[in-house]
Amino acid sequence: MALVTVGIADLKVSKDPEDTLVTYSLGACIGLAVYDPVVKVGGLLHYMLPDSSINKEKAATHPAMFANKGIPLLFKQCYSLGADKQRLIIKVAGASQIMDNAGAFNIGKRNYAILRKMFWKNNIRIAGEDIGGNVNRTMYMEIRDGKINLKVSKKGMIEL
C-alpha cells in the first residue's frame, strides 16, 4: 500500500488500487475528494483560498491553492484517467474556523461558499461532507473503493 500525501495547496489523482491519498491539517482549507466507482479513479485536492483573482501570476504557478482554479483542474485530471462526470462521487471536508464571534477570520466560510456556488452552477451534487466547527481534519481516500475516512480533532476517526 502506498500512502500518497497531498500537500497544502496541492492535488493528486490516482487509479492504483493500492494507493491511499491523504491530506493533513485541514483548518479553514478544504479537502475535496472525487471518485468514479466504475473505473476506480480518485482525486484529492487541498485548497486554501477561494479566488485566485488576488494574484493572477500565482494562480498560474499554484492553481491548487485556489478553489476557482484547483477544482476544475482536479476534475480534468480525473477525466484524463478515465473518470466520468456523471458517475463522480463528491465528498468535502474542512472550512473550520477559530473562535471568533465577529466572524473576521472567515476564510473557511468563503472557501465553502465558492465551492457550493461552483457546484450549483455545474449541477454537481455533494454526497457527503463534514464542514465547519473549531476542529482540524485529516482526510484519507482509498482508491480501491473510494472510501473516505476523516480524522477529526476531538472526535477521532469517522467515515464520510
Binding site: I8, S25, I54, N55, S96, I98, M99, N106, I107
Partner: protein
Amino acid sequence: MSLMEEIIAAVDDMPPFPQVVQRAMQALADPEYEVVGLVDILKVDQAITASILKLCNSAYFGLPRKVSSLREAVVYLGANQLRQLLLSGAASKIFEKPNAGYTVFADELWRHALATAVMAQVLRQSRRLNINENTLFTAALLHDVGKVVLSNFVADKYRDIEKMVEGGESSFQEAEKKVLGFDHADIGGKIAEKWEFPQSIITAIAFHHEPARAAKEFRVLTELVALSNNLAVMVGYGTGVDGLACRGHGLLLKKLKITDQGMEELVMLFQLEMAKTCEVAGVDED
C-alpha cells in the same frame, strides 16, 4: 509540592537557550553588523558552523562550487537566512521533546511554531510595520514553548481540558486556565524569563492569548504574535492538540486595516514563504 511548584521546578530544569545563538542574534540586530565579529561568535560552536555550511551547500541554493569557509557562508546567506537557521535550529531541539500529555501528532507543535514565525514575518513585511525583526521572529517562534513543559504534567488533567473544549464554550487556553489555574502562556513567560530574554519577548510569549494585558510598550509586538498565531491556526498549521479552539482577535485585523481580501493575500504570501522555510529548515510541510 503543588502542580504549579512542580512545573516551576521543571522550568528550572530546562536546558538553557544556546548562548551562541543569543549572542549572534544581538549582533544581527545591528543592520550594519560586522561579518568578522559574527564569525567569531559562531565559530566556537562546531554544530552550528556545520549546519551553516550544510545549508549554504544544499541543493536549495544550488551554488556552482562548494563553500568551505564560515566567513564566506555567512556573507552568502545574509542576515535573514542566518537568523532563521540559528533560531529554528535552537528552537527545534526544545520542541523535539516528546509531548506525552498533549498527545500531539508528531512534531505538530514545532510546525505550528515555525508557521507562526513565518506568518509574523509576512505580516511585518506586507504591512511595512516598524518592529524589530529579530524580536518578532523569536517571540513568534517560541510563543507556545510553555506547552513543551506543560505537556509533561497535564496527562491526567488533559481529559478535563479536552472535555471543556468539546463543550464549545472555552478555548483551549481558557480551559487550561480553568482546570489548572494557569495556562501554557504563563509557563512560556516563565521559561523566557529563565532564558533571560528581553522583557519584550517575555511579554509577547506570556500574553499571546490576551494581548490587551501586555504592557503598553510591548503591546504592538504582543498583538502581532497574537494575530500571527490566530492566522497560523486558522490555516491549519499545527492544530493537532487543540484543533481550532483558539480565541480570534478580530480587532487586530481592523487595527492593521486588513480586509477580507488582504487576509487572503497574507495567507497566499505565507504559504509561499512557508514552503521555502520548510525546505531550508528541513521540515515536512504537511
